[in-house]
Structures are given as structure tokens and as C-alpha cells.
Amino acid sequence: MEHLIELKDIYKIYQMGEETVHALDGISLTVDPGEFVAIVGQSGSGKSTAMNIIGCLDVPTSGTYRLAGVDVSTMDDDQQAEIRNKMLGFIFQQYNLIPKLSVLENVELPLLYAGVSAGERRERALAALERVGLQDKRKNLPSQLSGGQQQRVSIARALAGSPSVILADEPTGALDSRTGREVLAFLQKLNAEGDTVVLITHDNSIAVKAKRIVRLQDGKIIYDGDAKDPQAVVQPDLEEHRGEEAVP
């Protein structure tokens, strides 16, 4: 069976003045359709870089990334934009809705860039809003909605383009714990309905809601396995590693 996401020996190296920073230090990872994977790590562990590369917002320094069998690691900006549009649905910590556009228009955006006709755009956006239970708010502006509702709009937007992968970057970070739980429950529901979800977080209590956990530290995978395995939530000794982080 073909993997949906296939990262192979991914390195991302930044040159910061004299220093060379290995944000990702040789990562190999595969995700299959229907999985719910949490990528966990402390800040500086490389999880944001991993998210950018998986999300086709950035290209690796070396290594290959195949998304649904297509090598996307060497694509130019416009080709990446097309992959993001067709294959990926983003959910951000700050919701990232466009404040001037109505809820419906926000949800329509990925379809607009995909060149979908106005009628179909509206239909599909309404269907996505219905899935998150916000079709009655379609004419509101994002600012008229609560944080939880805004995050559900952004989920609807991620769903509207029928992506292969939903990438959620700290989706509960800006929400109170109850609303955060609701959003996570929603992601679980999406996964149960067959969507592939990749969740990026620093928080173990959130990561355990996924089926599989990939733990990153210093640009390397230090754990990859079932979320129910007690080893998955073992925090590495931070004191011990703090010194190492300072010297990459």
C-alpha cells in the first residue's frame, strides 16, 4: 500500500551567521490514509519546521517528501501552492480567518483559488459549514463569533477543499480547556469519518487524543508509536537536554 505522507531523510539546515542550525536532522516518517498522528515536541524540537515541510510551506534542505506518491520536496512556490490547495487543509492556532470576509466567504477561499465555479463553491462551503454545525453563522463576520466557533469555521475551511490531509497546528492553543476538548473531539470525529489528521502540539495531554504519537527532539524522532503506549508520553529529562539545545 502506498503511503500518504512519506518523509525520507529530511534535513532542514539554517545558516544563522556563523552558526549552522539543524532544525530537522534526518527525519524519516510515513503516514497512511486514515491515521491520526500527533507530532509532539518542545519548542525548538523542530516540530514547526516539520509542519511547514509537511504543509508544503517550505522545502527541505535535503531528503525527499512524497505526498500521495508525488515528490513535492523540489517544487517551486506556485506548484506548492497548488498542492496546498488540493491536498492539504490547515487549521491554525490563531484560526487565521480573514476578518473582512464573512464566514461563508472564508470557507469558500480554498475553492476560489482552486477555480471552482461560484455556485459549486457556495454549495461545498455550506456543506463544510454544516459539518461543523455553523451554517446559520455563514453571513457573520469572524469577529462576531466566539473563539471556539472561529476555530470550527477554520476547520470547515480546511475541509471545504476535500483535502487528503488535515494539518492542525496547535489547534487548541488559543482556546480554553473546555472548548479545546470540543475541538479535539471534533478532530477525532473527522478521523473516525475517514479523514487523515496530523496534529502538531507541545502538549502531551492533547497528543494522547491522537492514535499515534511522533515525538521530536532536537530535530530527531525519539519516539514513534501507539499513543496508548506509556512510553509515548514520557517527557525526556529537560534539564539534561537544555544544555544540548544551546549548542546545536
Partner: protein, 418 residues
Amino acid sequence: MNVTQSFRMALNSLLTSKMRALLTMLGIIIGVAAVIIIISLGNGLQNYLNAQFEQMGVNIIQVQIMGRGTGNRTVETEDMYQLAEKYPQYLSGVSPYVSVQAEVRSGGTSYDRTSIYGVSDIYYNRERNQTMRGEALSKGRFLSYIDVERYQNVCVIGSYLDQAVFQGKGLDQTLTIGGIPYTVIGVLEQKADCTEGSGDDVIFLPHGCAQRLNNRISNGSGAISIMGTSITVYLFASTGQDTSSAAKGVIERLLDQTYQSSDSYFVVTAAEMMDTMNSMLEVLMTILVVIAAISLLVGGIGIMNIMLVSVTERTREIGIRKSLGAKGRDIRSQFIIEAGTTSAVGGVIGIVLGVMLANAATVIVGAVMGGSDGFTATPSLGGILVSFGVSVGVGVLFGYLPANKAAKLNPIDALRYD
């Protein structure tokens, strides 16, 4: 991404920040309005002056004699009459046109802005009830051959003098010109606004009398000399507009034979004067329009400025759009359309403002000229279309730089931008 959506979003963002949009568009508004006003006023002025010329008669040829040249002869009035008789196919008549500087008095009042001209009976064409300069007679008669030959002290006055001096009953009354009493034998129709110093404040005398008045003034009031300086200005009428250059030719030939120097005389046809005036007006208008267009350029820079600010402010929005699959060209066209829309709206406001001000100018100029309705500032459709097109073009041109900046933003950095 489709254009209508970008266009609608651009209009939306104009409406959500009206003050800022207005300030952004101000340069374009002023530029377009200025261009339209200048074109309107220019057209109005040109139409007005051409109408005045046509009223004066496009068949007029003015001859001015400045000196004696190298030939030791002069062209006398009689030579001019003979010339007109010799070429009836070109010339339908000639009249001396002697300007007189003299005091006009009636009772105790003096009228020192009155224009006084000495002419012959041919100056007036009875069949057409029109003088060479376009005046028509309303009462009495014009100067006759006898009046001119015999230096009769008679005159024809303009409607202003008739009203102001004689309360409309000027016929057969007496006016004193340069101390000599003249009898009013005719009154002209009103042709200007019937005020002092206007085309209605005018007196026509036999040209001999006019010469005499001029000599008397230049010699001191005592001596009377009929044989003074010769007449220096003549008006010829050509038989038609198309014969006026041939007519000019025969006049110049006579003058050249006599004076042997083209510096001694000056012959100009009304058609030439009209052409000269029109081309001068066009040059003037072009210069003014170019100056006004500079403010369009400044307006474009204003738009570029605001668009650059807007791109910075909306960095996060650009990041979001890119993360959702917007390509560089989608972002670029969004911002270019926004800049173009801003300047197009500014252009439309400028056009409306310009046309309104042009209409106001028509009313104001009309009021200043005393209700004469000859002047109408006319906005031309071409001018409107061109200035609208230029304003949109300016927006698109100056929107390109900010739009390109937006298109090149890195989505990761843009998403993190606060």
C-alpha cells in the same frame, strides 16, 4: 482567482475605510477634475472666440500700413478703392478703419471709454444689414457716400450710448466728439452686454472727419489740417471665405509694388487670425493639461504609498491566502485590481467633480460677462474617456510594485506576522 471577486473585495475595502480611500484617491480626483475643467474651459473659449469671429465676418481682411518703405510713394485711399473695383471676383468692398482718440461729451458728462472709428459708407452693407465687423443697424441709417465725401459731422452710435446718453432716443440728437458737435443719424443693435467700454460703447464717423479729429489732436487743438497723415488701417471684404487668400494676394501685390518692402505693411485675413488664435489656444491648453496631468502622476504615487502600507498591514492575510493555495499571481492580481479600482473610483469622482465645476464655470463666466450666453464650458467626451483611462492606468502602474511585493512574501513568515 476570478476578477469579479477581486473587484468586489477591492470595492469592499474602499467602503470599509472611506476616509483613507478618499485621501488615497484625492490626487487622482484633483488631477482628473483639473484636466476636465481645463479641457472644458478651453473648448468653451475656443467655441466662443470662433463664434465671435464668425459674427465679425470671416471674410474680413485687415490691412495695416506701417511706413513708406523704400519706394517713395504711398498707397492712398483712392488706390484701395480702385483695387477693389479692379478685382470684383475677389474683393467685395473696402473701407478705411481709422481709430480716433477723442473725448466724447454730452451735456456735462464725458465718456472716455468709447471707441471711435472713422469708416466709409462701404463699411455697411444695407442688403444684409451688417457692417464688416458684424454690427447691425437698429434705428436710422448708416453713413452715406455723401456724408463721407463731404465730411459731414454725423455719426452712428452703439446701443450703450443710445441708452446711457439719450435714454434710447438718440436719433437726431447731438454728441460732442473732440469738441465738434456730431448729429446722431443711426443707432446700432446691441451686440455685447451694453456696458461702458463694451462693443456697444462705439461711434462710427466718416473717415475724413476721423482723420481731421486725429490731426487736430496731434497738432494741438488749433490748426486744422485735412491733408495730414494717410490712413493706416483698411478693412477689405473678400467675396467669400474661399477667396480670401486670393484677395490677400492682390492686396499684397499692390502694397509690395508701392512700398517695395514687406516690412511696411501687414495684411491678415480673419481666417488666418482665427487659425492663429486656435493654434495658440491649443498650445496653451496642451501645456495646462500636461501640468494638470502631473497631479495625476502625484496621485498615482499616493496610491502606491497607501498600497505599500496596505500590503504590510495585510501581511497575515496574504499568508493565510497563500497557505490556502493562492499563487503569486493571484495575490498580485488582487492588489493590482485593488489599486486600479481605487484610482478608477477616484477617476469617476474626478470626472463628476470636473463636469460640475465646468458647469459652474459657465454660470460664473456668464454672470461676469453680464448675462451674455455666448460662453459655455464644454467637457469633451474624448477628454473624459482619456482622463478616466489614464487614471485607471496610473493605478495599475503604481499598484504593480506593492502587488509584486505582496506576491513575493514567504507564506511562513507572512503567517507569523503580527
